[in-house]
Amino acid sequence: MNEELNTPLWLLSPLAVLGGGLMLALVIGLTLQRFKVPKLYGAVLAGLILGSSGFGLIDRFLLTQFQELLNAAAALVLFEVGRKMDLAWLLKSGRQGGSLLLATIARCIAVAITLRLFGLPWGASIFIASILIAVNPVIVNSMVADENASGTGTFAVANMVGLSSLVALLVLAVTMAWTRSHGVDASGDFLGELMRQGGKLVLGAAIAALSYGLYAAATRLCKVPARMRPGMLLAALLIDLGLCSVSAASALLSLLLMGVLLRNVEKRDNVFQAQLQTAQDIGYVLLFLMSAALVDLAELARGWTLGAALAVFAVRIAVTRVALIPATAWDRRKKHAMALSMCSLVSYGGLVVDNTLNAYTGLDPASTALMGALLALNVLLAPGLTWLGLRLAGETYQSGSLDALPAEKLKEAA
């Protein structure tokens, strides 16, 4: 039937290509894990092999066909981030919550200055810096799950992921309005753009409140225990996503807030106390595979972009570490570890769900090239550094600890 085609039939199916990619990512990842290398590097290698840097089987065009799915996945990741935000702790823990907030602001300022020093225009520098406030939830959550990490450092990093995403979303609304009104493809006035971007956020927040209200009302109507309510939660999330989609509201903020509301408002018999189990590990691998597939390693070949990207990475880690100094709950080693674990960054597409996927076209060529290099470096470096941070904090754990010699563990603890 397809004799005239040279391409195998399965390659014509985007779903089959993605499935093949996932299979390859898991095979490589699980093999690497046997050699104590983080499993997420399976997704990195599979992405590089199948993506733009390799055979080109997974490209922007193919991923565009999954746009709705990707948008939903990105929003659900943010929901997971929101549910790990402990507002009471962030607000009342004093120096701890304060140092995390300080870290988000310091990262923005330090990165903007660094980029300016590399010759980027102020507007582009601040725009990129506002994106780079955020810690990448896929990398952090995936590493935490792989390494079975648990402890006070991991708790703080999870809160930082939520806080940084929230701050980044808010700051990005302003910087995007500025870029769209003053950038290379400027199309409107700043105030008008600001109202548009702010409106998306406000609408997203309103939809979150509405969806949460529906969920809360439904649970009170039927009065079933928390363990029987995941279906209602899924329904509420679908309503939220759907309403955001038709109204062009910020689905990411909306889902993040849904997570925050469910975690912090619902006190008694909270559904999250029932430890929802999802297929999120697979989802993380898939999402990261797609990110890796879009990476063009050639972006790193140019000397200045590689240098600038490395400098930005180093500055973000250093500034985060400095911001943690006032905190009293963690020792020095844990603070070093946390700064490393917070090193990952998100793409534009990780904060703004629209048809542009990962790239934003309103930047000048130099800024675009640097952003590309940063994302490439993020895919290559961030999983490893995050993993290193979790190990340094001493909060990773493999079951069957008798396999490890106590003497080694003592050394590690020391």
Binding site: Q96, S150, N159, T328, A329, S401, P406
Partner: protein
């Protein structure tokens, strides 16, 4: 000179406990009869899921910065922490210091992002997910006991009572052992184990039995010399290395000059701990007023049966009086004890302690409260959350 001898003894004891030195039993330190000390093993919980959370090392580090009369120490796994009062003499003093401990530990835990709870056993933790505290003594326990070390992630309250002399300590241990099941019943608050309703009011009580030196002090020991001979004999076989190897329900603690009642689930509220400690202390003072008097029936089988009943049925269970052989409701026995002790107690707070214990016997006690919450549809996570809230509220919450 005396200090040097004491330091040497402490060092030898530490080496013996870590399994790094020869067996060592310190001399029994003279003490004031009827003084008290209370140790509580507390749960460290995740603030989202209320599962156990390995944050004890961080909490202990925050507590190191506090100047306080009580002490804090690690326990075998990193989701447990232990606090111990200073030497106490009355219910009022115990209540006040335990409340100070509660609020300080709770604040330190919050600072690092954790919650604290009382309770004898976490309702749904999995033993194999627990992490051994990075300290040689605990790794030695893991090497020696295998999975039992992690299975021992249970949370007890230990009451130390000043025994006066070494010989008297052995005698008081024997007497207090007979009434130990009453304390199991009163403190029972661990109706769930590894995610299941266990059918016991105190699931924790069944965990200790797996250890080879669990049980009770042999009833034929009648003096400290007998005890020392017994220790030397077992040490010769390599069975024990220090007093810590005796997982008895009541044991002498020579370095403190006390006897230690070890059967209680950590209460949900600190005030319960104060009341239970005072009850144990007053019983010991009563026994001490009958010098040279030993139990007439020291049957191990009877003790084991009484212990089983108390762990299963809590304050609604029955207890066979070893002296008369009569089965009696536990609550009646306790009320009888309290009435008798009230007539002789010199503690101005004893009447208050009695009221608290009366509260512990109402509607199935603490275990009854937790079971009712489960029956009303609360899940395991929610049960752990509720227990943490009761602890957090201190004396401010009616249960």
């Amino acid at each position: 000179m005396t200090d040097t001898v004491m330091n040497d003894a402490a060092a030898a004891q530490a080496q013996a406990m870590a399994g790094k030195g020869p067996a060592f039993l310190p001399d029994f330190k003279p003490s004031t009869l009827g003084t008290m000390g209370i140790e509580l093993e507390l749960m460290v919980l995740d603030r989202l899921t209320y599962d156990l959370f390995p944050a004890a090392p961080d909490i202990l580090r925050v507590l190191d910065k506090h100047d306080k009369p009580w002490v804090h120490t690690p326990e075998i796994t990193t989701s447990m922490l232990e606090v111990a009062t200073s030497i106490l003499s009355s219910f009022g003093e115990a209540r006040e210091q335990l409340e100070h401990i509660r609020s300080t530990v709770q604040r330190a835990a919050f600072e690092v992002g954790a919650a604290i709870s009382g309770g004898g056993a976490h309702p749904f933790q999995r033993w194999n997910e627990q992490r051994i505290y990075p300290k040689e003594r605990y790794f030695e326990s893991e090497r020696k006991y295998g999975y039992l070390a992690k299975l021992f992630t249970v949370f007890g309250m230990h009451v130390h009572i000043g025994a006066g002399t070494a010989d008297e300590a052995v005698r008081l241990c024997t007497w207090l052992t007979q009434r130990a099941p009453l304390f199991i019943a009163l403190s029972s608050n661990s109706p769930c184990w590894q995610g299941e309703v266990s059918g016991f009011c105190s699931s924790r009580s069944n965990v200790v039995g797996a250890f080879p030196m669990s049980g009770i002090q042999p009833p034929d020991l009648r003096s400290w010399n007998d005890f020392r001979d017994y220790f030397d004999r077992l040490a010769g076989f390599g069975i024990v290395n220090s007093i810590k190897d005796f997982y008895w329900d009541v044991r002498p603690k020579p370095e403190y000059g006390t006897i230690e009642l070890r059967v209680l689930d950590t209460p949900l509220k600190p005030v319960y701990a104060a009341a239970l400690a005072v009850y144990a202390r007053e019983l010991c003072l009563e026994f001490a007023d009958q010098p040279g008097h030993w139990p007439t029936n020291d049957s191990r089988e009877l003790y084991t049966w009484n212990r089983f009943n108390a762990a299963r049925d809590g304050v609604d269970g029955s207890w066979i009086d070893p002296q008369t052989g009569t089965a009696l409701p536990i609550a009646d026995v306790i009320r009888g004890d309290l009435e008798r002790l009230a007539r002789r107690s010199a503690d101005p707070g004893f009447a208050q302690a009695r009221k608290v214990i009366e509260e512990l016997m109402r509607e199935g006690g603490q275990a009854g409260l937790l079971k009712r919450h489960l029956a009303a549809g609360g899940g395991m996570n929610d049960l752990a959350r509720m227990a943490a809230e009761v602890f957090e509220a201190g004396e401010g919450m009616k249960t």
